[in-house]
Amino acid sequence: MAVPSYAGPLERTWYYSFRLFCGAVFIFLIAPILVIVPLSFNAEPYFSFTEGMLTLQPEAFSLRWYEEFLTSDRWIDSIKNSVIVAFCATILSAILGTLAALGLNRSELPFKGAIMGLLISPMIVPLIIAAAGMFFFYSKMGISQSYLGLILAHTALGTPFVVITVTATLSNFDHTLIKAGASLGATPTYTFFKVTMPLIMTGVISGALFAMMTSFDEVIVAIFIAGVEQRTIPLQMWSGIREQISPTILAVATILITFSIIMLTTVEILRRRSDRIRGIS
């Protein structure tokens, strides 16, 4: 989209101001991330750039907040908790979500609309409501303030992503492949693992990554049902921001941003691969 050669001065002005506006929006989108990363190397316990940082003096920068993060028992515990909860919740939601998506893809399934609505409801209901409900119900069941409770809650929140991505992958799935497998004498289980699974695997993995990010980033439900023993990274950040705001949080944030870049790249590569396999692009 370049300026057409016949464009008058008015149109040119409009074109460049449009570009300028879009550029400003892109800066708005990315600025918070660009700001956080350098600030996390601040040698002073402030949330703003010091004189030394702006003139690029080496002593104005330090890794002390990273050191503090890695030597603090509370942060290390929270990493451990987040990994445990996210891992279990991701596996559970990937299995349950994929099975459900396979069922939803069958034309024989009755009440499809209602079932789909129920399964994606955790994505629609505001988290504060879900968290309040879980707080009462899980303590009645005796699983609040336990890993089990938190894992079950995060699984429920993660499954809609798996259901949606796998259903999307399955919508372009060629069902004659299964019939071909059957006609060649393969059992349904064998066909599933040898034909269906490899083809929908990209959908399963990207859904699982979404579920994992949901669990990794989830704080509201954790506030309500996690005990002291189950403090996750977001929960630790939440109390850090509310109590004493120290640049350690910025160091954690930078690490999390790196983590999300890795995740984003993975999902993107998977999506391209899936498109290529299915011959879309």
Partner: protein, 419 residues
């Protein structure tokens, strides 16, 4: 499902019948197989997600405290006609309840529940319980002597009204209404409204945030959709990266940007726009909430808009121009109408996500930037008025589901796409 078996009419009627039965059986087996695949997740979601919310629904009308912890008074009051002060029998029941409740340490719960309805009830009951040694026969006389409040007929009416095991009182509270001692329900003075005001503010600010995302997202999506794929993909990273970044990280960075010693203020001072002493308060108020939430929700607007704009052929605009339309007419009459599905999908998505927000308003919203979710959390964890929290939660849920139903009717839920 009906499948015609007419083609096999050379079969005998009996064989036809058997074929029909076989077909039916196989169809049913397939149906059951499909259901079996879906069943684990359906059961899981019902147990871990829907049941807790249903339980909360019940909690918003559940009212056990007075009923359970002042049992004798509740029963005795059933036959009371509310015309004059209760008689000695009822006072005796109350005395028993207070003495027994003090021993079992349960009277405080009933007193607290009554206090939600009228402040002063708690000190009336607890004050009496503290002087339990002075309670004696005749009870009516001695109780009124201990606390004058027992001579007030209105207090008795409140105990009677809250003695039922189900109540609408939390909803009455949540709608900023009050019940007079005679049982008449009316709105409180508009100046004292809390919840309705906050609901309106939540809706109003969500609409503002939605409008902001349309305003910022529309041009950017258009640019992305009209650039060559390679450039668009690179710029798309700038949209997706914040989308994938933790909500808390982004909220933290807005604190670093907007606070009075923060980057934006520093820049303004440096450029001489404002004086160092006159730094602008951009955070811990409604501005902070709107800016941070617009940033957080903007990708949810850009992504659906982009996917719709991608499907609009650029030749339409060129055709309009070549037929003599001004750029504005071409945009307004040709381009915009075709992108409306994207706008409505994005807008409803952003709006639904926005009205349920809690974390961001809590961290950057200060007093004036709080949402209804923050008040629910406050009643859950601060005031411990769980019934009221549940009632507010149910109201918010009804609102969200209502909007979602409209969304579903207009756009269809299978349009939900990620990334």
């Amino acid at each position: 499902m009906s499948i015609s078996v007419e083609a096999t009419s050379d079969l005998s009627p009996e064989e036809q019948k058997r074929l029909k039965i076989d077909l039916h059986r196989s169809l049913r087996r397939n149906k059951i197989r499909a259901l079996m695949l879906v069943a684990p997740l359906v059961v899981f979601i019902i147990v871990t997600f829907v049941a807790p919310i249903g339980n909360m629904l019940f909690r918003s009308v559940d009212n056990p405290l007075v009923h359970d912890f002042m049992p004798q008074t509740t029963i005795a009051l059933e036959s009371w006609d509310e015309k004059e002060l209760p008689d000695e029998v009822i006072f005796a029941a109350l005395a028993q309840d207070i003495i027994e409740g003090r021993k079992a340490k349960t009277i405080g719960k009933a007193a607290k529940r009554l206090n939600y309805e009228k402040s002063g009830m708690r000190s009336l009951i607890m004050g009496t319980a503290r002087k339990y040694k002075k309670i004696e026969d005749p009870y009516k006389e001695s109780l009124i002597k201990i606390k004058k409040g027992w001579g007030d007929i209105d207090n008795w009416k409140i105990i009677k009204r809250l003695g039922t095991s189900l109540t609408t009182s939390y909803y009455i509270n949540a709608f900023d209404m009050e019940t007079s001692p005679d049982g008449e329900v009316s709105f409180v003075d508009p100046k004292e409204q809390i919840y309705l005001k906050l609901f309106w503010r939540t809706i109003w600010m969500s609409m503002l945030i939605t409008a902001m995302t349309v305003l910022l997202g529309y041009p950017v999506s258009h640019l992305l959709a009209s650039l060559p794929t390679k450039t668009a993909n690179i710029l798309m990273i700038l949209v997706l990266l914040p989308f994938w970044t933790s909500l808390l990280v982004r909220t933290t960075s807005w604190i670093a940007m907007l606070q009075s010693q923060g980057i934006l203020n520093d820049l303004l001072v440096w450029f001489g726009v404002i004086a160092d002493e006159a730094r602008v308060q951009l955070i811990y108020n409604a501005i902070g909430t709107v800016v941070a939430m617009t940033h957080i929700l903007l990708p949810f607007m850009i992504l659906p808009l982009y996917s719709v704009m991608k499907t609009v052929p650029p030749s339409y605009l060129r055709a309009a121009r070549s037929l003599g339309a001004t750029p504005w007419t071409a945009f307004w009459q040709v381009y915009l109408p075709q992108t409306v599905p994207g706008i409505s999908a994005g807008a409803i998505l952003v709006f639904i996500l926005s009205i349920g927000y809690y974390i961001t308003p809590a961290l950057v919203g200060g007093q004036s930037g709080q949402f209804i979710g923050n008040l629910i959390a406050y009643h859950m964890q601060g005031s411990l008025n769980w019934g009221l929290a549940a009632a507010l939660g149910v109201m918010l849920l009804v609102l969200v589901l209502g909007i979602y139903a409209i969304y579903n009717r207009v756009i269809g839920s299978n349009q939900v796409k990620l990334g």
